[in-house]
Amino acid sequence: MRSPPGHSRLPRSSGPAWAGWLFLPGFLLLAAFMAFDPIGARVPEAVPVIVSRHDLDTGPRRFAMDDPPSANINGVPQGCQDCHSIFVFVDKPVSELSMHQEIVLSHGLNDRCFNCHDRNDHDRLRLHDGSTVPFSQVATLCAQCHGTAYRDWQRGTHGKTLGYWDRDLGEALRLRCTECHDPHSPRYPPFTPLPGPNTLRMGEQNPHGHHAPGRHHPLLRQIGEPHPHPPGATP
């Protein structure tokens, strides 16, 4: 089919004829850029965090005294009555006792041994009414003061439960008071937190901005760069 008259006279492009040649080196440069991949080779990655298996123990937090109770005396476990059938209690602060000096007593106003321990039978614990319970029933003793915690523990809303949530498939293991709390200083000690997140898309790492902006921006972090937050750097 014949072109309309004058069609071939129309200018084909507004620029000079050689401008089209610029596409070629442009394409080749792009090809070289993608082939050598200078951006892709610099994908920033976080330094892998190594967490020891010891930090991820799942059992009870501490060893609880069970029946019959025993104490380490000069590195040797001894039954309570082994000594206390002979030695009687001397009314002194714990820090002045000749034995049991490892005990740190920090239980609020409850700072007398025989508030909880039985003066006559050291294998048992003493309740307020003078009756005694074995060490395995320590919750009964704690419940005298910590009523709400005891009620919640009975319901399962306080304390840790291990094992199975489905009683048909396996046993649930409710931890007792002293498997988490040290009865002599029941408040939890401070914990060292495990390392924080270091994913690449989590924004500015330090919201307080104590160092130069952008210096430690996660997108600029490369493999091998040291962790920008040594413990204790953040106030």
Partner: protein, 390 residues
């Protein structure tokens, strides 16, 4: 020399008229000569040929990332033809499981215990977390990573522990990069956030390929073989719970957890979403999630809410619970709750009683025996002293 493809171009113009092609040949009147035809000149051939070669080179270079695609990472024909999870017959599933087992064995050198765990009848999972007890130690974060075979680098973590100033629930003030020598800090509380397994999940609604859905026990799962990596679900989630594998997940072979589920913790590939699934490879066997087992304070509670005697049912009945972003209408199955008393002996009423007792009885009995230790005195905890709640 004339190329056939270009000859057809000259034929299209017909004989006689102006050639109309942009060949730039000197003769515009269309008189054909053997060496310098209307469709092709030397200059035209060189230009077209070089441009075509350059274009091909560019295409080849654009495809060059495929060079890095190892044979192991390329989807097999079997994986490509695999049906949607809900349309798979047991035989199809067994074939898929066997393919994944072989793949894991090739990559990590261990034979996994891979199964497709189905939801249990009469079970709806609920998680509860005691904000009064959480101390922000991040053990749950790392136990989750160890259990669920997440990428170690780049780091993929399902749980965020957010350090919040006391007295506010404004998430903008939270910080999950806190890096203290010790936790907890007296002026903050700690808010772990993970997938809330919503009963009205926005992430499921936006998935264009139905690669994620809510199972009968309330767990929203992802089929990693069906996900196309569009990340709509990540944008839809108000809890920022979904994670994307931007690059190839790196998982050391000695840290692989061989107990795997098809919809949960089998190793993922680059370009798919993942998120917390309440450790369904454990919980659908009656066990507890990994984050709960490692929690040193017992702040985490998990169970079947349809069982009225379960711990979570007790919590929902007897505790003050809250959900995050309730106004989003997502109906989370992840509840936060508080204890009645203040944490860490900060109850001003109890401190007042203790001070009165110390004044009365302390005066009567003198210095209490054993009181010389480094214990916390009640007076230090009285209202107005440092560390009281806002």
């Amino acid at each position: 020399m004339r190329l056939p493809i270009l000859k057809s171009h000259s034929n299209g113009n017909g004989g006689g008229g102006s050639c109309g092609s942009g060949c730039g040949c000197a003769s515009g009147n269309g008189s054909p000569t053997p060496d310098n035809g209307p469709g092709m000149s030397r200059r035209s051939f060189l230009r077209t040929g070089t441009a075509a070669a350059g274009g091909l080179t560019a295409i080849a270079a654009a495809l060059s990332p495929l060079r890095e695609l190892e044979r192991e990472d390329a989807p097999s024909l079997e994986q490509f033809l695999q049906k949607h999870y809900k349309e798979m017959t047991p035989a199809d599933m067994e074939r898929a499981l066997e393919r994944i087992r072989a793949q894991v064995e090739r990559r990590y050198g261990i034979r996994p215990e891979l199964r497709d765990y189905k939801p249990m009848d009469g079970v709806e999972f609920v998680y509860a977390l005691n904000l009064s007890r959480c101390i922000g130690c991040r053990k749950c974060v790392h136990a989750c990573v160890a259990e669920n075979n997440q990428s170690r680098s780049p780091e993929v973590q399902y749980i965020r522990v957010i350090e919040m100033p006391r007295g506010t629930m404004d998430m903008e003030k939270g910080n999950h990069h806190y890096d203290r020598p010790t936790v907890p800090d007296e002026e903050h509380f700690y808010l772990p956030v993970q997938c809330h397994q919503c009963a009205n999940p926005p992430c499921v609604k936006v998935c264009p390929v139905e690669a994620t859905w809510q199972d009968a026990d309330g767990i929203t799962v992802i089929d990693y073989d069906w996900c196309i990596g569009c990340r709509y679900c990540e944008a839809a989630c108000p809890y920022w719970a979904r994670r994307f594998n931007f690059s190839k997940p790196r998982l050391p072979a000695d840290q692989v957890n061989p107990n795997m589920g098809y919809l949960s913790n089998r190793p993922r590939d680059k370009g798919v979403m993942e998120k917390c699934h309440f450790c369904l490879q454990r919980t659908r066997q009656g066990r507890m999630p990994a984050c709960l087992e490692v929690c040193p304070t017992g702040a985490r509670k998990f169970g079947n809410v349809l069982d009225p005697e379960s711990e979570v049912a007790q919590i929902l009945r007897t505790k003050r619970v809250l959900v995050l972003k309730e106004d989003a209408g997502t109906l989370p199955r992840f509840f936060y709750y508080f204890d009645e008393r203040y944490p860490s002996g900060l109850d001003p009423e109890a401190a007042e009683i203790a001070r009165r007792l110390e004044d009365e009885e302390g005066a009567r009995y003198g210095r209490l025996p054993g009181a010389d230790g480094p214990e916390l005195r009640w007076r230090d905890l009285a209202p107005g002293a440092k560390g009281t709640t806002a």
